[in-house]
């Protein structure tokens, strides 16, 4: 325990706490008008209180996972994957899934709406890192090495797209793709898979009306201001209102009902409106530091599984962030994905903290190994000095 605390990656911890506490404040700021006016809630602090609870729970999860050996977690992977897959299947079975805003993504557990696609993030990253580590020496063979995990990925991906939750599906795809990249797959295989993924994505986008419309609306939101362009226009208005210093914390106009999902998917727009370019810089730099730390931890990981897992986790989080921020600024189509650590949402926050806990565990393990090596080096030199003295 003491060794754990001593070997924690404190800069990573600081970044995590900074982002999640900042998120808590912003959730309050973005939601109090909406919450105060909602007759079902009638409490301006409603979302704040819940997010605060999730944050505390999340921190427990984080510390638990940071002490839970990721190697043992690896052994649980097949089980976890099976559970996730079943839950995803359950969601698309009519009658079991809970539908909101046209998407069926949840299972009602009575006290809590479970979002299996959130669980899928962790399962897929774990599974990919685990499977590709085990098959390390068979990776040159497409059929024997790559095909089985890819088929499972495709299955999960399809189930999530069916919900539909294209954003989450895409972020899982990216994270798994990056694991594949670093596991040591052949370049020619990666190239082929990349092409297939791009063609598939295009077919998917053009295949569904709503996705095609979103694509066109993100290119010209003002073409259909009351329909598909609505959210993006209000997001852009919010961002544009912010200028350099922002309109001030809690002063956003767009959150007062104009911009739907202000405290979830579009929280970054409110940050840009209230805190201006300064707030935007803070968030983006924090995520870049997080990415940097993640890559560093991966490099120092004691084994291949840890390395792949660290990279998968890092890029799972980062890909969500860039899809979200791309969407709110009109660079990418809107897919309905939250900004990790900052947006309101229990499942998302707990999963992210679990992810970061695992990352921390890898960092600790890496530090301990490196620490032993350093201590040995020191001992050696003392011995040498001792010997020399004798």
């Amino acid at each position: 325990m003491k060794k754990h605390l001593k070997n924690m990656d404190y800069p990573l911890l600081v970044i995590i706490l900074l982002l999640s506490l900042f998120g808590l404040v912003m959730v309050y700021s973005a939601s109090f008008v909406h919450a105060g006016l909602d007759p079902n809630v009638n409490d301006p602090a409603f979302y704040f209180k819940r997010q605060r609870l999730w944050l505390i729970l999340g921190l427990f999860v984080f510390f638990f996972m940071s002490m839970f050996s990721y190697r043992r977690l690896g052994q649980l992977t097949p089980l976890l994957f099976l559970i996730t897959f079943l839950l995803l299947l359950a969601v698309i079975i009519p009658g079991l899934g809970v539908t909101r805003n046209g998407a069926t993504r949840w299972l009602d557990l009575g006290f809590f709406l479970l979002q299996p696609s959130e669980l899928a993030k962790i399962s897929m990253v774990l599974y990919f890192a685990y499977a590709l580590t085990k098959k390390e020496d068979r990776l040159d063979s497409f059929n024997k090495g790559l095909l089985p995990p890819l088929l499972l990925l495709l299955g999960v991906f399809t189930l999530i797209v069916l919900q539909p939750d294209f954003g989450t599906a895409a972020s899982i795809m990216i994270a798994c793709g990056i694991i594949l990249l670093f596991a040591g797959a052949k370049f020619i295989h990666l190239l082929g898979l990349g092409s297939v993924a791009i063609v598939g994505a295009l077919l998917l986008i053009l295949g569904a009306d709503y996705r095609r419309e979103r694509l066109t609306s993100f290119m010209d939101p003002f073409a259909d201001p009351s329909g598909d362009g609505y959210q993006l226009i209000h997001s852009l208005i919010a961002i544009a209102s912010g200028k350099i210093n922002g309109v001030g914390l809690a002063n956003s106009v767009q959150k007062s009902g104009f911009l739907p999902e202000a405290h979830t998917d579009f929280i970054m727009s409110i940050i840009a409106e209230e805190l201006g370019l300064i707030g935007v810089l803070f968030v983006i730099i924090s995520f870049m530091v997080l990415m940097f730390k993640g890559v560093l931890i991966a490099k120092r990981a004691p084994d291949q599984f840890g390395r792949l897992l660290a990279l998968g986790i890092t890029f799972q989080i980062i890909s969500q962030a860039i899809i979200n921020m791309g969407a709110i600024s009109g660079l990418l189509p809107i897919t309905g994905i939250t900004l990790p650590l900052i947006s309101y949402g229990g499942s998302s926050l707990l999963i992210t903290f679990a992810f970061l806990g695992i990352l921390m565990n890898i960092a600790i393990k890496g530090n301990i190994v490196r620490g032993y090596n350093r201590e040995e080096e020191v001992d050696n030199s003392k011995e040498k000095q001792f010997k020399a003295a004798r």
């Binding site: 040159d140 797959a185 226009i233 961002i239 544009a240 209102s241 009902g257 660079l331």
Partner: protein, 642 residues
Amino acid sequence: MRRIAAVTVKRRLTTVFLLIALYFIIMLGRLAYVQLIGSEEILAKAEELWSRDIPLFAERGKILDRNGEVLVDNQLAPTLAVVPRQIVNPEEVAKKLADIIPITEEEALKHLTKVAAVEIIHPEGKKLSEEQADQIRMLNEPGIYLAQDSKRLYPHDELLAHVLGFTGIDNQGLMGLEASYDEELKGDRGALSFFSDAKGRRLNQLSNRYSPPEDGNHLSLTIDAEIQSIVERELDIAQAKYDPDGALAIVMDPDNGQVLAMSSRPTFHPAEYQSVAPEVYNRNLPVFSTYEPGSTFKIVTLASALEENLVDLDKDTYYDSGHIKVGGARIRCWHSGGHGSQSYLEVVQNSCNPGFVNLGQKLGKEKLFTYIREFGFGQKTGIDLQGESKGILFKDEQVGPVELATSAFGQGVSVTPIQQVTAVAAAINGGYLYEPYVVKGLIDPATGEVIESKEPTLKERVISEETSSEVRRALETVVAKGTGRGAYLDGYRVGGKTGTAQKVGPNGRYLENNHIVSFIGFAPADDPEYLVYIAVDNPKNTIQFGGVVASPIGGKILGDILRKKDVPKREGGLEKEYQWPDSPKVEVPGLVGEDIKKLRTYLYDLRLDVHGEGDTVISQSPSPGEKVESGSIIRVYLGDPN
């Protein structure tokens, strides 16, 4: 180990890391762009699209006369505005609205379900009456608003209609001053903005934002409503009496070019302009119409000759034989038989055409036309009214002896009434040609302060004070002793000149028995304060002479103005002379039953205007026994004797 080297993995890692870092930078650039550079454009676009603003229309500026009398006012007339997203049951509301305003249920439903932040029901929902507004208020439906708006109210009805013009359904100026001063009058729209959620539902918990409309400025005119109503009344009387094709009048302050009254017939009510033909409201005749002025133009010839010292009105004499030969053409005097030997003052009094031809010849074409141009003819006066014409003058190379001769007494030139008034004002005010104008200034509606005021614009000094004084003296004698006696006012000194202008028909020839009779007069003659011009186009049932029809109207207008404005009576004015031309008045003989051929041979001092087919006169006008001036026209109708 694996066959893929660790170096390759490291390189891949670096590449991915850098690519994603680059993407972060691009995203940061995009956000910064939206926040800093594209910000204004996006916000402007959004404002347009999403403002949940109930418009508050600015109150249009009033139009006031020179003394602050309101000529054009406003009356509350709300506009129906709907916020479609707030309407609970569009079908039901559409049905209710169709009962109140003249709109079909389908049309109403289209408005109510339109994808728009705020929809104005146009034009059916504009300018609602108080009753309609009350009914709509009583509906008490969410999403239905009455936006503050107003419509024009004309307390003096038709008064000054052509000058004022009118506005359209959106209170936009369409004609007259309403159009040319639209920018100044219209003001800026305000709004009542309310906070709403994404669906446009009103959020009552949050306070509304009120940005008040900025009312338009009042327009202050040089027009004097009292004088204007005198003019309007006299034109109404003339219209009833003579049933003319048209009539017009202008009153000006000769000392600064300010127009005090301006009117014409046919006229219209600005609130119901659609009920008359466009020609009626499009044409402000005092500035639009052009015609050959006739004898009123002789004032210009007179002033020019006097300025050039070519004539002494009292000492020089001219013998009028009844016609004058110019370049092989015979130009007749209107008075058959001629005026005989007269001083030039009498030439003016008698309005003797050959006498003025003689003056024109003395001046020569260059000088005469230079003066005509200096007096402002052949170009727009620059009055601040729409639709001004500039008239037509002979080009220098076209002017031969005949053109010079006819121009000297007002034929062959085409001028507008406002040009004549402006020119005569210069001839009698000491020689100063002013730019005529009707808008004196702008008044701030809130403070009542004058925020912009126009000063008289002096364009040219045309003649000297001495010449001008001679012109006034000559014209005073015209009213006392000459053709303008109809305008004589006991105790006031009135100067003036009549005119009987021939009209050019569609075939380019002068029309028979269809004249524009006019009078231009001023008072007091020693220091003119009011200059009046009146013209009546083709008066019926009368002898078409300026002295018969127009000068009495001019005199009446001047007299009423002088009394109303308490202008002191003058002493030392000229006495009215009664012997001329009463003496040559002849009694109209009974012509009914006579043979037309016989009549033509023996009726020498009256002219005949023959209508109908046949040899025998079956009716005549004027009737037998009436006294008319010698040379007058008797209208006879021919028919079968049985």
